[in-house]
């Protein structure tokens, strides 16, 4: 059994592909650094991440795969699922080996699985776009917290940038502890120390909020309650469309219900 250990980054994964083709030895197990090694193995390859090599693999993929399929590869990576790296390794290998792109061969388990994961990741990105709720701070910045299941905030930034181009905003992924801040010119990645992040979370102190922020929250909550038709109440559908895991940061789900 051959074990490959890489640094857990996307570049590292692509470097591992390069290395495997160079050695003509393909991994049975692909692991990120720090994971427990299996008890028995024949060969252990520790991959050095090399951006030139990674670049070459990516360019080879660009020649083989359509843009949509490249998007699938990136989405599967963003899923951060435990199975993702090995799945991508096999997917890339199939793309490299095949004479034509395997991307539409949904009869193949890996191709199908990758497409399915990518669809779920795209849905999560959409949910970020749907469910981000800004609160207006006293200094005029609109800030929002969110904890998406997959690492999709980066891919949603273009939407927020376009739509909210004339307001200062900050969106913070509390699970992964990083976010994006837009200063009316550029978007940049930001990370806070734990203590600083705390003051944004939960019920931000009233002093930090703009004077009319509470009123607009109440207006939205009132609207949300009034627009529902009681004769058609459907809690099951409600929870399906608006998953409970997002409620924590949804303005309409705060306050008295």
């Amino acid at each position: 059994m051959n074990v490959y250990v890489y640094d857990g980054t996307f570049e590292g994964l692509l470097s591992a592909v390069f290395e495997a083709y160079e050695r003509r030895v393909f991994p049975d197990v692909l692991q990120a650094e720090g994971e427990m090694l299996p008890l028995f193995y024949d060969q252990l390859v520790t991959v050095t991440t090399d951006s030139t090599r990674a670049e070459r693999v990516w360019r080879a993929l660009q020649k083989k795969l359509s843009r949509a399929a490249l998007g699938i590869v990136l989405s599967v990576w963003q899923s951060e699922l435990p199975e993702a790296p090995a799945l991508l390794f096999r997917y890339i290998r199939k793309a490299v080996d095949a004479s034509r792109s395997p991307e539409l061969d949904f009869g193949d388990d890996d191709v199908l699985r990758a497409a399915q994961i990518a669809r779920r990741v795209a849905a999560e990105r959409e949910r970020v776009i749907q469910f981000v709720r800004f609160r207006k701070a006293a200094d005029g910045t609109y800030f929002a917290l969110i904890e998406p299941k997959y690492n999709v905030l980066a891919s949603a930034v273009s939407y927020f940038r376009d739509r909210f181009a004339d307001q200062l905003w900050l969106i913070y992924d509390c699970r992964r502890r990083f976010g994006y801040y837009y200063d009316l010119q550029d978007v940049r990645e930001v990370a806070f120390r734990e203590e600083d992040a705390l003051c944004f979370s939960g019920k931000a102190a009233d002093g930090l909020l703009a004077a009319d922020e509470r009123l607009f929250q109440q207006l939205w909550q009132t609207y949300f309650r009034s627009i529902s038709i009681r004769e058609r109440a459907n809690p099951r559908l409600h929870r399906k469309e608006l998953p409970v895991r997002f409620w924590k940061y949804l303005t309409e789900k705060q306050g008295k219900q």
Partner: protein, 417 residues
């Protein structure tokens, strides 16, 4: 803006909520410098109400005072309900502030009829014009046109709104006149025509001149109430299909009748809104728009109403055993779409993957085909199951009827019509 607006929002949202549409799709517009917002092109639901319906727009009435007396409407003048009117500045501020917080895609504005249709329509037009011109609002605007409004006002509204709608409500003119004495088909179809003409002329202008602003880029929509009159699904779907045949009609909505005025003897007494029937109509509508079904294939003289127990696609398949079983490795795409249990997504996947090799039942399953249904309608050697040819439609139907649930769900079992 102050606390008093809270009460107005409550009253006017309550009054607006029976209009089903909340779509914000059909216009794609990037941010422009100096303006606020964008339109996404695909509809974004920013929330879901406790009835499970999408909240995409701030759906609200300018006022719920109304001089008309439509039997099915909560806002009719003979109803004793709280009334309110929003100031223009309040409405504008609500829209902008909600929008900046990512609560909504934009505004869906309607109004009760005050004084006369044109007076009311003019006030609505002034608001959307203000939003666009003065406040540079670049988000989505859906304006519900007032029945009987003049051509000039409808045409002006179209310069600022992404979508206009005129609700038919009742699919048959006699019943409409009975229930809404102040309305007739003319008052509904005339504004629809103004919108259509506006769009067509605008398309023409845009071909000839540059920089002509778009006229209702997201087209128009309408709504029909289901179950307030004796009209059959055939009446409803044939009218819907005729409407879809006209350019610019993007969506027809169906709204299960909710007896808001139960004491009116012109209306049926329903214990529950006919949600199952409404759902079947949406499914049929979907089949007409995306699966290439004709209204006459779904409902006809023999079956004027949709089957409440099985979905319209399955119902069609059961009536047409001669078309099955289908060989998924050979059949053309249109026929794949007609197999019960196969959706657009899986039909596309099948069509793409069979070029690489045979598609078997395991793969169908993984692609998301509902095999429980599909088995009776596909030709698949690995499966021991008999198809509709051997079993006959009656038996297949029995096998596919939902089993009565152990935990009884009142929403599913209590429909008495």
């Amino acid at each position: 803006m102050n606390e008093a607006v809270l009460e107005k929002v409550r009253v006017l949202a309550e009054s607006a909520k029976y209009d089903v549409s909340c779509a914000s799709s059909g216009t794609s517009r990037a941010h422009r410098k100096g303006s606020v917002g964008s339109a996404a092109g695909w509809g974004i639901c920013h929330s879901f109400a406790e009835d499970g319906r999408c909240i995409s727009l701030l759906k609200i009435m300018l006022t719920n005072y109304c001089m008309y007396d439509c039997a099915y409407c909560i806002n009719r003048r003979s109803n004793d309900i709280p009334r309110a009117t929003l100031a223009v500045s309040e409405l504008v501020e609500l829209t902008m502030e909600f929008y900046r917080r990512n609560y909504i895609e934009g505004l869906f504005l309607s109004s009760g009829v005050v004084r006369n249709p044109d007076y009311t329509m003019e006030r609505l037009v002034r608001i959307v014009k203000d939003l666009r011109r003065v406040h540079r609002f670049n988000g989505y605007i859906h304006l519900k046109s007032i029945p009987g409004a003049s051509r000039e006002l409808v045409r002006e509204a179209g310069l600022y709104a992404d979508r206009l709608s005129v609700n038919i409500e009742i699919p048959n003119e006699q019943s409409l006149k009975l229930l809404a004495p102040e309305k007739d088909f003319q008052s509904v179809f005339a504004p629809m025509r103004y919108i259509r003409e506006g769009v067509l002329e605008n398309e023409d202008d845009r071909r000839r001149f540059r920089y002509v602003p778009r006229f209702v880029p997201a087209g128009q929509s309408t709504q029909m109430i289901v179950g307030a009159t004796a009209d059959t699904d055939r009446d409803i779907l044939c009218l819907a299909s005729a409407l879809y045949a006209r350019p610019t009609m993007k969506r027809v909505y169906y709204s299960g009748f909710i007896p808001v005025n139960a004491y009116d003897s012109r209306l049926p007494a329903l214990k529950q809104p006919p949600l199952v029937r409404e759902n079947r109509l949406y499914q049929a509508d979907w089949l007409m728009r995306f699966y290439d079904f004709k209204a006459e294939e779904l409902v006809d003289d023999r079956f004027p109403d949709l089957d409440l127990e099985v979905d319209p696609k399955l119902a069609w398949a059961l009536r047409h055993p001669e078309c099955f079983p289908v060989d998924v490795n050979r059949a053309d795409y249109e026929m794949l779409l007609r197999i019960p249990g196969v959706g657009v997504k899986s039909a596309r996947m099948i069509a793409a993957s069979r070029r690489y090799g045979r598609v078997g039942s395991m793969q169908l399953k993984k692609m998301g085909v509902v095999m429980k249904k599909a088995v009776y309608f596909i030709d698949c050697r690995e499966l021991p199951v008999k198809t509709i040819q051997e079993l006959r439609p009656e038996r297949v139907r029995q096998l596919l009827l939902p089993k009565p649930k152990v935990k009884d769900d009142p929403r599913q079992l209590k429909f008495d019509f």
